[in-house]
Symmetry: C2
Subunit: 661 residues, 2 copies
Amino acid sequence: MNLYELSEIADKRFSNGEEIPQNIIDGIKNIVSEGGYIGMAQINPIAGNVEYNAKKIAKYIKYSSKIGLDMVVFPELALMGYPIEDTIDRHPVIVEENIKWLKGLAKITAKTTALVGFVEPRKKNAEGKKYFNSVAVLKDGKIQGIIRKSLLPNYSEFNDYRYIEPSPVVGIQPTETLGVFENPVSSSKLFENYGISICEDCWNNKEFFDKNLYEKDPIDELAQENPEVFINCSASPTRAKKEQLKHNMLSFIAKRYKTPIVYVNQVGAIDNCSFDGSSRVFGANGELIARAKSFEEQFLIVNPKKGVGKIYPLTKGLDKSLTEQKVFTLEYESDLERTYKTIVQGIRDYFNKCGLKRAVLGLSGGLDSTVCAVLLADAIGKENVFGVSMPSHITSKESKSDAAELAHNLGINFTEASIRPMIDTTTECLNDLFKVVESKWDGRYKTPFTPDNIQARSRAMFLWGISNEFASCIPIATSDKSELYMGYATINGDMSGGFAPIADVPKTKLFAFARWMNENREIKNAIPEAIILKKPGAELAIDPKTGKPLIAEDALMPYEFLDEIIWRVENKNEGYNDLLETTFVYEKHNQISKEQKIEWLDKFFRRMSTALYKWSILPPSVIVEARSINKNDYRQPITSGRINYKGVNENHINAILSDYL
Amino acid sequence: MNLYELSEIADKRFSNGEEIPQNIIDGIKNIVSEGGYIGMAQINPIAGNVEYNAKKIAKYIKYSSKIGLDMVVFPELALMGYPIEDTIDRHPVIVEENIKWLKGLAKITAKTTALVGFVEPRKKNAEGKKYFNSVAVLKDGKIQGIIRKSLLPNYSEFNDYRYIEPSPVVGIQPTETLGVFENPVSSSKLFENYGISICEDCWNNKEFFDKNLYEKDPIDELAQENPEVFINCSASPTRAKKEQLKHNMLSFIAKRYKTPIVYVNQVGAIDNCSFDGSSRVFGANGELIARAKSFEEQFLIVNPKKGVGKIYPLTKGLDKSLTEQKVFTLEYESDLERTYKTIVQGIRDYFNKCGLKRAVLGLSGGLDSTVCAVLLADAIGKENVFGVSMPSHITSKESKSDAAELAHNLGINFTEASIRPMIDTTTECLNDLFKVVESKWDGRYKTPFTPDNIQARSRAMFLWGISNEFASCIPIATSDKSELYMGYATINGDMSGGFAPIADVPKTKLFAFARWMNENREIKNAIPEAIILKKPGAELAIDPKTGKPLIAEDALMPYEFLDEIIWRVENKNEGYNDLLETTFVYEKHNQISKEQKIEWLDKFFRRMSTALYKWSILPPSVIVEARSINKNDYRQPITSGRINYKGVNENHINAILSDYL
């Protein structure tokens, strides 16, 4: 067996918690004994659970020693998990804990060097933030030196600069500087000819990027010392389009400095961030030598100098996005496997890491709850999912039977529970109440949406009831990204839950996603075709014209049009006026008047403004797209909702200011 | 009349939107004609609403010109409002708008210099972030120069570094550098002998602070040029204990450099941040010369060189906190006026800036909803508040009558609406549903809290119904800080609403707060004594032992003990082990066993861990205390909830790691 056949057996044993057979150990040992082999320990940590992470690290240190690797590399902040955020400021006890474990881990090392990420407290009154984001070099039972992160991302989901001080120096510093680092004192930036850096430190090449976020380029500094190999310890979450940039950048660095680069990424999800792993090695010519699996823990052994490695296939979507998407398209196909794995991992890790086990969700027979049900079944197991069809007087027979069929196909638990008694009682109570309020207050709406919301909230009442009554169970919020942008989601209704799986997936992508799941899951066609074919509608109100339930697109606008607005706003930073000038894909297939377009654009910006509050109380979700409305990714004061999206011209300003002359 | 008598008349006219009478103008003009007078325009902007802010600025520029001031100073980012957060990245159109308005405002200036804060876009591909946080010097119809912020706070509620690039230079730069700034080119850092800086720039004196957050000290750099006066444009929200630091620091700077300092602060609330204003001037000896009102817009005219100014009284609490609180105490008296004004302003501005008008809340006859009702009546007007008593089978007669009496005393709208039909219907529906679920799932709780939550959610259903049915109305979440720490709040129940007024006020403070309001509001004793005297309890369940409703302290722990934990965790960064060693105030008056103390501490950390999710979906609220759980102030991954609060010792680690040797 070759190195990778042996390694796969070992990896499997690892994930099952079993001992690695001696003959496998010996086989690998034999191969790596020629020297220069590195283990890339692509692990899935729990943020702040230092002991859990330390045991995982210890396991791979022990294994690396046994098989005789030169080095084993862990992701950024491996002991603490990334991101850890303000937790280290509010609970400094876990930082002490991570230092104790680090010292303990040093003691179990021998000839194999281990690179272990940790939070390093600085001297008590040191200027700046309290901590460094550091990597310790462990060998021969000791901490041999420290590398500290210089470039601190502080945008989108990243907040490194809140509690981390940027390191003024690059490369290795003596072990005596642990926790007391003041000024650079090392003679070489390298450790045994390895040029070691942390995540963002490699994202600032001045030749590669048109625009740089920082002045310093740690990799260029390291390169001046002529390392044999670059190593980068990372924690870089997957987002649409990021893979292309990462691949090209790492390849560029290797080629530019004629030095192989070993990039070890975290895997698993921490709250809204889903990390894809896909750790890799590029050779001195910029060619890809090795790549670990995506969305799985793996221990990948490579020899960067000799070009020994194995390239595991990237999850589709990561792969396809190597060509950056420049225009909006409804062809989501290329990104669906990545979308699926990102969310499934996001759900699974949220449940596991929070100690949750089961989920309950309303099955309306519509697309949103359907896709959520499939994702949940795959993430936490069908036996742990309960779908509840909760018909009202408006719910069609088809909705009920579609929901039942879906549940049957998925093998999840299912029941039907009518909300009609809830609606009747609530409506009666509220009508009495409204009469009293009306005697004091004007402004009662003529066409109220109260009845719609009563339905959504009655359903949530059922789901939260089950969550309260049964251990380790949370309800699921089924709102999708398109509808959240429009605030088309009921507070304490469909947008309430313990987790919101598809909050970053636009509606048009969900259609493609459903089809993809029907084709690509082990059990084919679990989603009834009728669910994919029907027009989305919340089935909350009857259209007085047709006598049938209102369709969402009538209340909003065509989803194709809406999703292109969202894509342009998020990916191209286009504003109202840009959008007005753009020819939408929808316009190519449908004649719409300028007035119609203006009406939709106005509606979009108006509704988005008032949706800010809803976004602020949205349950935890997974970031999938290049940009999102996730509150960890996008911060806008709610009171700033009514900004002027259309811009002004100087005449308007001058006319107003003429009063102040 | 003296300068301040005249100014107060002018200020009153301003706030009523009336013209300033010519004799007032002439009177002030006469006084300030000797030169050296500065207007401190302490304004309340709306974040992102550039036109609204620009008109306010134009009004004061015009007035300053008319009365012949040397200079008028506006707060940090006056044109945009602070904080503006990611809004400028997602909607760059408002940055363009603020540049256009800035240029327009320049044109209306003449001899009076105006310092106007704005967001300055940098050159398209400039290294670093896209924007500077800048102040423009406007005079003689032109932009005369630009000052850029060097120190960017990025902790607690501050996120400046997310989209702002720190300025490498201090002091004034030529106007040609607007938007294209590359390298410093000015010969002097001063503008007409004024040393101008922005907010955090003055918070890094190396002699004053034991620990500094930044290397650079902009004030010290400015001081090298011997300015006659320092000016600092600020937006600094009130927080418990901050006033003392600010006062002493500004006084120190003035004295240290023998240079008066004019500090102009924003007033008003933007989401969770409530700014107190209290703009001020310190003379060259460090003595306070002038101070504007707290929590009010004001235009205060001063002459820093001549020591002309008026010292308006600080809101009590700001004042008292000049002596920093080193120990936990139940004597909240000194901070209650500040607490009141912080929250009232927070509510009022949230409503005004969001276009909301009315609030509806459940009145349980308990302390939390009572305090919320008073605050709302004072913030938005009693006619705009609707209190609803929503009794269940558990609600006592006293609770109902206390609520009615409170509403009567406050003059707010009031009605009673029983939730019994809701409880009956929901319980019946859920019992059927639970039977089905139980046939598939184990883990049904023996002593379920489902019935408690049904009550809380039925009430929220009523309140949200009213919010849906009546224009510009939101329901209020009445959860307090102590109970939120313990997760003692019902999702979609009492913790749901459009705003959470007392989410940062601990329970023991609420008792003192209620008494303070009874003594200090215009209408005395609006809060019935019975409400203050009764033991807090949610009245959701009956204690089987006593047959009376369960008291919250039985489910949690004594509030005195709980609030001291919270205070120590937040203010002293104490962890589990520190707390175990501390003698609590509660322990001085009550004998408790070590076991009891351990039980409470364990409960605190366990419940706090699982409350992280609830904090993430908490409605907008106002930050009051030195630290808070507001999600804009404190970021912790929900999946990191189960961290080890107790720490570990080396023996534990060595024992585990011995397996990995």
